[in-house]
Amino acid sequence: MFRIRNYSLALIRLFAAMVVLLISVPALAQTEGQLHITFSEAETGSPAYKVTVTLTGANLIGGAQEKLTDVNGEVQFNALPPGQYELEALSPTTAAQTFAGISIQAGHTNYLEKDLQPVGTAVEIDVVKQRAVDTSSTTSGTTLSKDVLSRIPTGRSYQSAVSMAAGVTGGGGNKNLGGGATNENTYMLDGANITDPVTGTFAVNFNFDAIEQIEVLLGGYMPEYGTSLGGIINIVTESGSNNLEFVTSVYYTNGDWRPKMDARYTSDGIELAPTGFNSQFESYQIASKVSGPLIRDKAFFIISYQQDRSIIAQNGIPQPRDYEGHYLLAKLTVQPTAEHRFTAMLQMQPTNIDNIVGDPFTKAEAQGRQVQGGFINQSRWQWFLSPDVNLDTQFTAQKTYIEVNSVPCTHNEDFSFHPCEAGEEEGNVDWETPGRLGSGGAYNSVNYTSFYFDDRWRYNASSKLKLVSVKDPLGGKHDIKIGVEGEQTVWDQIQGYNGNNLIVDTNSVGFDPETFTNYYWLEISGPIKFRTTGSKWNAFIQDSWKPVSNLTINYGLRFDNFTMRNDLGKPVLAGNLWGPRLFGAWDPWGDQRTKIATGYGRFNDTGRLGTASVLSASSFGSKLYLGEYFFGGDPPLGLLNTAGALYDFDPSENLNVGYDGMRAPRVDELLLQIEREVIDDVKVYSHVTGKFVRFQYELDEQNLVFDSDGSAVIGSRVGDPTTNYYRMRTPALAKRDYFRWDLGFNKIKARRWQAQAVYSYTNSIGSTTNSNSGSFINDPQSQYNYGPLNTDIRHVFKSSGFWDLPTDPWTQSIGVAFESYGGIPDERLYYGENNGSGFGSYDLRIRPRGTYLRYGSYYTLGLRFQQSIDVRKGKFMIDAGSTNIFNNRAPESVSLGFIDSSNRFLTRSRQNPLQFDLGLRYEF
């Protein structure tokens, strides 16, 4: 009877597990860590069997966990929230012993080997030293802990913080990770994919103080982390603990306190515009966070709010870009029994950006407003079927919205915003009056030109079954995970032009307002509405096998199925993709001080709705009318009078097609890692990575026939020599080869300080930077497609560190970050008479991309100082920092087509100026 009952229970559990696996679907990056300890008896050296091990920690929801060591003296604790832990070992044959300061990071297993002293021996608390080398990990990447994030001067956002990791390059919020494009990364929040489903870029601004750690994964990761041609940024949020904590802070940043000079010269000889007595660069951030227990050991919560405001006016632009974002986070974790843990999280980011046109020739009434935001709603259930088996099920709903239109008008003359007309209602948005765009130095005027409403949805459900410490008859143990995931994405958009017209003006003589005239105008079909959708599901199996204690084999297989539909609901991109991974890590001396790891993995790209939308059927139709510029006349011809001058007509249909033989892009990766802890807490390492991207989505041209160098059109395959007929393909030529060698050292936190430095040598060559880069539109230009890409920054050096000064109780901390980047390669584009993109333009290559020049190297240095003062029930902290201390305003981008009379590129943007920030924090 007993056996039957047990069998029935197992069947029920198995059935329940299968149901959950089938009805839900996946994601599942790591949000928790593991602890594996091997105890030996100090006297005999034999495994310590049946030792009672008790694990405690403030973050450990569910209360203390107790386990017995097995015959090998081993015990493992799973699903541990990141944080600091303490462990007590008790056995009849050994002295009771306590091990403190055990650090757990999400996505990592902390392996410890400890000796237990005989009964009767006086033992002290053993403060466990962290190992500098993780001898079982084969992942290529960096984990940024809260310690680092709170002390290093990298800016208070996850987007800026990740630049500390080796292999991360590029400016702005979307970085190039591991040679990938800025739209080829995966962003994850507590294990769920929150990447923008349309663009493949980040979709969420996030509460910085609520971040527990950021994993930056560039390769070597296991199938559970999903797919990415670039890298993965996994944000793990705090969950709260048994300690009630409150943190509030105010940070103010100002870039106008920098030294002021009339003009400066850079290494490339260009005289810069004045550094800007009138420009504005300031921001502030207000943040509060409260976390703690609702029920001790049973229910933890965290509530966080952050407001970001920045007012930035580039030189000569009268209306500052005004950004105001509010980020709210609420998370509740409940573990009512040892078997079940539930988590619910809601994050929202309503944001308003005024004056989005960064152009000095824009009048206030022609400025635009962007309202954006959305929410992420996560629910998670972790079912611990046994100490070594758990089922992790998660559902995530994410919405992102973007709305762009005219800045609402105001009667308040103190603002430099869109002024209302007399009698116009305050806050009115004018949808009827066409905006007028200026060229030749003429102003954008009258109204913002267009409007855009965009909703992006992602529904994701996943389930992962995890079996740990599965004994292998051949030896060793397996940690096995099996997961399934389903995802539905939706992109709704409405686009239109105010008044269904777009008017373009010009100054007949450049920059001479006396010659202002109407250039042309477009009558445009009414607002268009799209819905593009995507559905995906995947399954994976992976295993971390330690056949012997000093060898780890991480292998697995992932299957992805995806279908993207255009606005007619027609499948336009689809695929069934296999992603095998096989990596191994060897600790040759078995002393946890050395690692040699190598392996291979394939990572597939399951596409973005933006790519699918290229193949949508609808588009704007327009009629082009020539303006008074072409006809003159006195009085000049007005808009209505030019109705007879119809010059061109474009139908409202999209001519792009997709080729049936497409396949999904993928990257094959090879890595070799050698690490050695040379002295306590300090490791030196060499990481070599090769990533080979193939079959990227690219458009080629099915209509226009070009002359020998691609500078002019000489024929048309369909009898229409003015129109491009694009075809989406995944040609073998659309590829990228990336090689990086990191040499560095890492001093983990001990004795109050931590530091790391890494030099990266990079070679990144290819024919396309990202999907639909346009590389293959002009056939004769294909000979120049292959060359160094923007990620081919040959020499990069990054270092950072912090030191908590021994000045207790008034703790002071100093943080420093230094990054140096070698030159970015770039190309020069030349004039083509009519190369299929209009009446002549500067976009012709005459040599391979990236071979014309390299920018000079540039660097940035930041310092941060924190002074904390103990006050009643907490501490008060002054936090002062500065970035780009030497005000090294090196060019970050240039105008590719034009050079000035000195044969110099015109710089389009430079590094941000020297900035100071000052923060005040209170914590208890």
Binding site: D668, D700, V713, D779, Y830, E833, G840
Partner: protein, 332 residues
């Protein structure tokens, strides 16, 4: 399944996935296809009198060869079917007065119309025909008797002035960037000379130039493939090659298939001297009859095993490198 079987299965899946990636074929036949165009020696010799009234030199000069337009078409008719010269098959005529379209599958040029930085030279200069700027100045001023006039009505006799004007206008600093003259050592003899231009004299005294159809979609006879089981891209009948050289007008020196009206070609805006530098008409391969005029030369034969064969070359093997000859001079 025991562990070993499981590992074996995973290994097989991994290997099959890798192998699948290696053998993946897109299903399109797209190749960079190359060939040679032969221009008869006579086409490179200009007859008549020079500016001083003396007979022009009988020495050939490839500056006499205009841009050569090469297209691949469904078929090519011999002379006197569509026109007095060999001509690509023409599609139906939809509008009165507008001839049918040839619908080319692709094409390229040997040399192309390039703006030589003075309005007087718009629509008169082909790339790859002049060793240097001095040769260009001599050609127009002394041989053709068409002086190059600057914006301030001065005769431009110095090649260096043309060069510097181009550098200023185009904002470049090297001949390689202008691409009007010999700018690269194509034959590898460490010299830049007439052997590095588009056309080079061959053993027969004619002039040969290579052409490249970049990333050309190959089209073939589907019926033949179905009925005879031929292999596309290898032995199925493909498209026909046809070409013509737009020879400069004997009086004005302009190319017929060039336009320099509003918004056509490089725009020069200098004080009161605004003009456009010209460009090829975008439908020259679609309606060539409109642009082929007296004196132009048209392809009429191809080389087959050392013998010239009348007609258009039918491309079958994408790796073939056909040689076609522009042997038909268009007469009035």
């Amino acid at each position: 399944m025991n562990k070993q079987n499981c590992l074996t299965l995973i290994s097989l899946l991994a290997m099959s996935s890798l192998a699948g990636g290696c053998k993946y074929q897109e299903g399109l036949i797209i190749n960079t296809m190359k060939g040679t165009v032969v221009v008869p020696r006579a086409a490179a010799i200009k007859t008549g009198l020079d500016a001083a009234g003396n007979p022009l030199s009988a020495d050939p000069n490839i500056a006499n060869i205009g841009p050569v337009y090469i297209g691949v078409f469904p078929s090519v008719y011999p002379a006197n079917v569509v026109a007095s010269f060999p001509h690509p098959e023409v599609g139906p005529q939809y509008q009165d007065g507008v001839e049918g379209d040839t619908y080319p599958y692709g094409g390229t040029t040997v040399g192309d119309i390039r703006f030589a930085c003075f309005q007087a030279l718009a629509c008169k200069v082909t790339s790859g025909r002049f060793v240097d700027y001095d040769a260009m100045a001599i050609w127009f001023n002394d041989i053709l008797g068409q002086p190059i006039v600057s914006a301030d009505n001065q005769n431009v006799t110095s090649g260096e002035l043309i060069r510097q004007t181009c550098f200023d206008l185009l904002e470049v600093t090297s001949d390689e960037e202008v691409r009007l003259t010999a700018f690269e050592d194509r034959n590898g003899d460490d010299k830049l000379n007439e052997l590095d231009l588009d056309f080079v004299e061959n053993a027969d005294g004619d002039f040969e130039g290579e052409f490249t159809l970049w990333q050309q979609d190959f089209f073939w006879d589907r019926d033949e493939e179905r009925e005879k089981g031929c292999t596309p891209g290898l032995d199925c009948t493909g498209f026909s090659v046809w070409a013509f050289a737009d020879q400069p007008d004997s009086v004005s020196g302009r190319f017929t298939a060039c336009e320099d009206g509003s918004n056509e070609g490089f725009e020069v805006e200098e004080y009161n001297h605004d003009f456009f530098g010209g460009r090829s008409v975008p439908d020259v391969l679609n309606r060539p009859t409109q642009y082929i005029t007296e004196g132009d030369i048209v392809a009429n034969e191809y080389l087959d095993g050392g013998d010239w064969v009348e007609g258009a070359y039918l491309w079958k093997d994408v790796y073939d490198r056909p040689t076609i000859r522009l042997g038909h001079e268009v007469s009035p």
